[in-house]
C-alpha cells in the first residue's frame, strides 16, 4: 500500500510544483547574458524541453537510483538531503518527545482537576500556544534568552568551526527552536489528552477499578490514561507533516542547516529535482509516522493487535 501511495503523492507533488509560474533556467543563469537560443540549450540540458510525464518519469527514475542532480548546485540530491538530515532529525525528534510528554502531562493535570485554577491557566496557556505565530515567538525568545540574558546561542546548530554532532555541543542550539515548535504541539496534545481523559474518567470501568480497591495512581495511569491515549497517538501521524512544515520557518530564523531551509531555497529557485525529492522524502516520513502510530495503537490497546480480538 505504501508504494502506490508514494507514487500518487509524487505525481501530485510534481504536478503542483510545475504549476508554479517561473522558469528554472531564468533563476539559474543570468538571463541578461543569455540569448534565447542559449536559454533553450540550457532547457534541453536540464531536460525541460520534454513532455511533462517524461520529465516526471526520468526524475523519479534518477531519484530511485540516486543519480538525480540538483539544477542549481549539480550535486546529487540524495547527498544534499542526507547532509541536511541530522539537523532536522535532531530537532524533530526532540520536539516530538518534548511535545508529547509535555502535552500529555499538562492534559492529565488539567483533567484531574477540571475547571480548577490549574486547568484554567493551562487552558489559557495552550490557547496562546495555538495562537502565537511561530516567527514571532522565535524572535521574542531569541531576544530574551540570547540577546538580553545571553544564556543561549542566537542561531546555528553548533559553535562555528566545529563539525561534529556531540549532543552536549548541539543541545544549547536546539533549545529555542524546540520551544518554538513544541509550544504548538504541547497545546494540541494537551487539548486532546484533557478531553479524552475527562471522557475516560467518567467511564464505568474506572468506578469498577476503584471499587476493587486499586490505588488511585494505578487507576489513573493504567486504566484512564492508557485508554485515553488512543486519540492522542493518532495525533503522532498527523503531527509529522505539521512539524516538518514548521521547520521551514524555524530553520530559516535560527539558521539551522536542515531540510526545511533546503526546501525553501529550492522552491525560490525552482530547483524541481530537489523540491520533488524533499516531498517524496517527507511523504515517506509521514507514512512512517502513521505506521508508528498504528503500532503504538496496538501497544496501547491490546484489542487492536492483529490476531487478537
Amino acid at each position: 500500500m505504501l508504494i502506490p501511495l508514494l507514487i500518487g503523492i509524487s505525481i501530485i507533488s510534481y504536478a503542483i510544483i510545475r504549476l508554479a509560474p517561473g522558469d528554472p533556467t531564468k533563476m539559474l543563469a543570468d538571463p541578461e547574458t543569455l540569448t534565447t537560443e542559449q536559454m533553450e540549450a540550457m532547457r534541453i540540458q536540464l531536460g525541460l524541453d520534454q513532455p511533462l510525464y517524461v520529465q516526471y518519469v526520468k526524475t523519479m527514475t534518477s531519484l530511485m537510483t540516486g543519480d538525480l542532480l540538483s539544477f542549481k548546485t549539480r550535486e546529487p540530491v540524495v547527498e544534499m538531503i542526507a547532509a541536511r538530515m541530522p539537523a532536522t532529525a535532531a530537532l524533530a525528534i526532540t520536539v516530538l518527545i518534548v511535545g508529547f510528554i509535555g502535552g500529555i502531562a499538562v492534559g492529565v493535570l488539567q483533567a484531574l482537576r477540571p475547571n480548577g485554577l490549574a486547568d484554567d491557566i493551562a487552558t489559557l496557556v495552550t490557547l496562546i500556544g495555538f495562537a502565537v505565530p511561530t516567527f514571532w515567538l522565535a524572535l521574542m525568545l531569541m531576544l530574551l534568552f540570547s540577546v538580553r540574558l545571553d544564556w543561549l546561542p542566537v542561531s546555528g546548530i553548533r559553535p562555528p568551526n566545529t563539525s561534529g554532532w556531540d549532543p552536549r555541543t548541539v543541545a544549547p542550539y536546539l533549545v529555542l527552536p524546540t520551544i518554538v515548535l513544541a509550544t504548538n504541539l504541547i497545546a494540541t496534545v494537551a487539548r486532546y489528552t484533557r478531553s479524552s481523559m475527562l471522557d475516560a474518567l467518567s467511564q464505568d470501568y474506572l468506578r469498577t477499578a476503584r471499587a476493587k480497591g486499586l490505588a488511585e495512581r494505578s487507576v489513573i495511569v493504567r486504566h484512564a490514561l492508557r485508554n485515553s491515549l488512543l486519540p492522542v497517538i493518532t495525533l503522532l501521524g498527523v503531527q509529522v507533516p505539521n512539524l516538518l512544515g514548521g521547520t521551514v520557518a524555524v530553520e530559516t530564523i535560527f539558521a539551522l542547516p536542515g531540510i526545511g531551509r533546503l526546501a525553501l531555497d529550492s522552491v525560490v529557485s525552482r530547483d524541481y529535482p530537489v523540491i520533488l525529492s524533499i516531498n517524496v522524502f517527507v511523504a515517506i516520513l509521514v507514512l512512517l509516522g502513521s505506521l508508528v502510530a498504528d503500532v503504538a495503537y496496538g501497544i496501547a490497546d491490546p484489542r487492536i493487535r492483529q490476531g487478537e480480538s
Partner: protein, 551 residues
C-alpha cells in the same frame, strides 16, 4: 535589468516578516560581545555572515550566490582584477600586459613564484587550461559575449575545435590572447571575472564531474585564503594561505556563516556572533551609540529605479517618464524612509566611475515642470484629480514592487497622485518572482540593480544596448547601439570616455528609466576587528586579507 538583487531581495523578504519587530525590540539594548575572535589555540578567527549559500565555488560556473560574491576575491585570483574605488583594471596573476597597436592582441606576463594552495607552482599551463575549459562545449552556461570576442572561442564552444586557438603560450611566463576585434571591455568583463583554475587538480576530469566533485565545494586556488570546509546550510571556513604572494593575511581563519534572516543576523551582530555586518538605517542608532562597535557609512552600489514597458502606448512618450521623474521628491523620501542614509539616483552606474557622465540630463524634483510636461503631452486634469487625454484615457498604471521595495512604492504613490497620475501598487513576494519581467508582462516596476562586482560599462550595455537577451523594457535607440560598438572598439581611454559620455547623453535624453535613489550601506564592525576605510562593501570583502584583530 530587472533581476532581483540577490544580495538584498530575500534578506528583505524575511526581514519584512520579522525584522521590524525584532529591530524595534533591540532599541536601547547594550550587549556584551562574545569572545569569538580568538580561537582556543590562540589563532585569530573572524565570523562574517551571508544571507545565502553559494551554489558552487567553481569560478565561472553560473550563479554562485551572495556568499561567493563576498569571498571570491580572497580565495582565488584572475589574471587581472578590478580595482577600487573606480573599477580600473589592475594586475593580479598577470604582473603586466601589453596590448598590440590595433588593440586585438593581449600579451600577459605572469607573476613569478606564485604557488597553488597545495604548494604546486602556478604556471602558464594553468592559464591556458582555464581559458580552454571556460570556452569548452561542456562548460555550464553559454559563452558570454565577452569571451566570444576571442579568436576561436565560438568554434571551441561549438565543438568544432579542440582548444581555444586564440590563446597561445609564448613562453613559461607569457601567454597571448588574440581578439577578433578590439574590445575595451575584454579585460574588465571577461578576464577579471574568471579565476585561474589548477590544471594539475582537474585536468582529465569531465566538467560535470568537477561540478559534483569536492573541488567545486572545497577548491584549491592561488588566493589569500584557502577553503578548508563547507558545511551545507551552515558555513564555509577559510584559512589564511601562509605562502600567499601578497603576504600572509592578518587573520588566521574566516568563517562565512549562512544566515538567511536579517533579524537573526542583527541579533548575532549585537551579541558578537558575527564580527561584522550591515544594518538598516533604523537599526544603526543602537550600534553607533554603543562603544563596542564602530560604524562606517558607505556609498551604496545599489540603484533603485522605475522601469517601464516602453512598448505600451502609455509610456512611448518620454515626457510621461520625465514627468514621473520630476514628480518624485527623492530627498524627502531618503530623509524619511532611509533616515538620510542615501542619495538621489542620477545614473544607472555609480557616480565614482570614470565612465559616469556628470553632465548627462537628469530630471530632479520639480512638480511644476512635471505638470507642464503632462499638459504639453495632452494630459489634462480630470474631475477626480487624475489626468485624462483627448480620448478620455486615464493616466493610470500598475506599478509592480517586490516586497523589498514595497515601502519605496508606497512613498512614490502620493507624489505621482499629486501631479494627476494614478498608480496601483502590486506587491510581488520573493516566491512569486520568476526571473526578470519581460516586455508585454507589465506596465511599470520598481527594480534594483547592484553594481557590485561588474564593470559599470557592462551594466550600461546589458541595460540599454539593443538587442538584449532578455528584454525588460523594449528600449531601443540605434544611435545608442552604434555608440556601444564604437566605445568597445575605441583605441584609447580618452576617446572611449568621450563615447561613453555621449552615449549617456543620448540615453538620458530618452529617459527610459526613472532613477530613484542609492541607499547607503551601513557597516557595523565589532571593535576587536579593524578593517580598512573602504569605498564600498565590495571593496571591504576584497580587502579581507588586510583585516586585523586588535590586540
Amino acid at each position: 535589468m530587472s533581476i532581483p538583487n540577490p544580495l538584498i531581495s530575500r534578506r528583505r523578504f524575511t526581514q519584512g516578516v520579522a525584522g521590524s519587530a525584532l529591530a524595534a525590540s533591540f532599541a536601547g539594548v547594550t550587549l556584551p560581545i562574545a569572545d569569538v575572535v580568538t580561537a582556543q589555540d590562540g589563532s585569530t578567527q573572524v565570523i562574517i555572515g551571508a544571507w545565502s549559500e553559494p551554489d558552487s565555488l567553481l569560478s565561472g560556473a553560473p550563479h554562485s550566490g551572495a556568499a561567493y560574491q563576498q569571498i571570491q576575491r580572497i580565495i582565488a585570483n584572475g589574471l587581472v582584477r578590478l580595482g577600487y574605488p573606480s573599477f580600473d583594471v589592475e594586475p593580479d596573476l598577470a604582473e603586466s600586459w601589453d596590448v598590440s597597436e590595433d588593440s586585438t592582441v593581449y600579451t600577459f606576463h605572469l607573476r613569478d613564484g606564485v604557488t597553488w594552495q597545495d604548494g604546486e607552482p602556478f604556471t602558464v599551463e594553468d592559464v591556458k587550461f582555464t581559458l580552454d575549459v571556460v570556452t569548452s562545449p561542456d562548460w555550464p552556461g553559454a559563452l558570454d559575449s565577452y569571451w566570444s570576442q576571442v579568436v576561436g572561442a565560438t568554434e571551441h564552444k561549438a565543438g568544432e575545435a579542440t582548444e581555444l586557438t586564440g590563446a597561445r603560450i609564448i613562453d613559461d611566463s607569457t601567454i597571448e590572447v588574440t581578439l577578433l576585434q578590439p574590445d575595451t571591455l575584454f579585460l574588465a568583463s571577461a578576464v577579471s571575472r574568471q579565476r585561474i583554475l589548477p590544471k594539475h587538480l582537474i585536468d582529465g576530469t569531465t566538467i560535470a564531474d568537477i561540478q559534483k566533485s569536492d573541488f567545486a565545494r572545497v577548491p584549491t586556488y592561488t588566493g589569500a585564503f584557502q577553503v578548508t570546509e563547507w558545511l551545507p546550510g551552515e558555513s564555509i571556513t577559510l584559512v589564511a594561505n601562509p605562502n600567499y604572494w601578497e603576504g600572509k593575511p592578518g587573520i588566521d581563519t574566516i568563517i562565512s556563516r549562512f544566515i538567511p534572516d536579517a533579524a537573526t543576523s542583527i541579533a548575532e551582530l549585537s551579541t558578537g556572533g558575527l564580527d561584522i555586518g550591515t544594518v538598516q538605517p533604523d537599526q544603526l542608532a543602537q550600534f553607533s551609540s554603543d562603544s563596542t562597535f564602530t560604524v562606517q557609512e558607505l556609498p551604496g552600489l545599489r540603484i533603485a529605479y522605475i522601469q517601464f514597458d516602453l512598448t505600451k502606448e502609455l509610456f512611448t512618450d518620454p515626457r510621461i517618464r520625465k514627468a514621473i521623474s520630476h514628480a518624485i521628491d527623492r530627498q524627502t523620501v531618503i530623509d524619511t524612509l532611509y533616515l538620510g542614509y542615501g542619495e538621489p539616483g542620477r545614473s544607472f552606474i555609480p557616480t565614482i566611475s570614470w565612465v559616469y557622465n556628470p553632465d548627462a540630463p537628469t530630471y530632479p524634483y520639480d512638480p511644476d515642470q512635471a505638470a507642464a510636461l503632462l499638459e504639453e503631452a495632452g494630459w489634462t486634469l480630470g474631475d477626480d484629480g487624475i489626468r485624462v487625454n483627448a480620448d478620455g484615457q486615464r493616466l493610470a498604471f500598475e506599478l509592480i514592487a517586490p516586497t523589498s521595495s514595497r515601502t519605496d512604492g508606497l512613498a512614490i504613490q502620493p507624489f505621482l497622485q499629486a501631479i494627476g497620475i494614478e498608480v496601483t501598487l502590486v506587491e510581488q513576494g520573493a516566491g512569486q518572482t520568476t526571473g526578470p519581467l519581460e516586455v508585454g508582462q507589465y506596465d511599470a516596476s520598481i527594480s534594483q540593480w547592484n553594481n557590485y562586482i561588474i564593470d559599470p560599462r557592462a551594466d550600461l550595455q546589458r541595460t540599454f544596448q539593443n538587442p538584449r537577451p532578455t528584454d525588460s523594457t523594449g528600449y531601443a535607440n540605434p544611435d545608442v547601439d552604434a555608440l556601444f560598438l564604437e566605445a568597445r572598439a575605441a583605441l584609447d581611454r580618452d576617446t572611449e570616455q568621450g563615447l561613453w559620455f555621449e552615449l549617456q547623453d543620448l540615453v538620458e535624453t530618452d529617459a527610459p528609466l526613472v532613477y530613484l535613489w542609492r541607499q547607503q550601506d551601513l557597516l557595523v564592525v565589532g571593535n576587536r576587528l579593524t578593517v580598512p576605510e573602504v569605498s564600498s562593501l565590495s571593496e571591504l570583502y576584497a580587502r579581507i586579507p588586510e583585516w586585523q584583530i586588535n590586540s
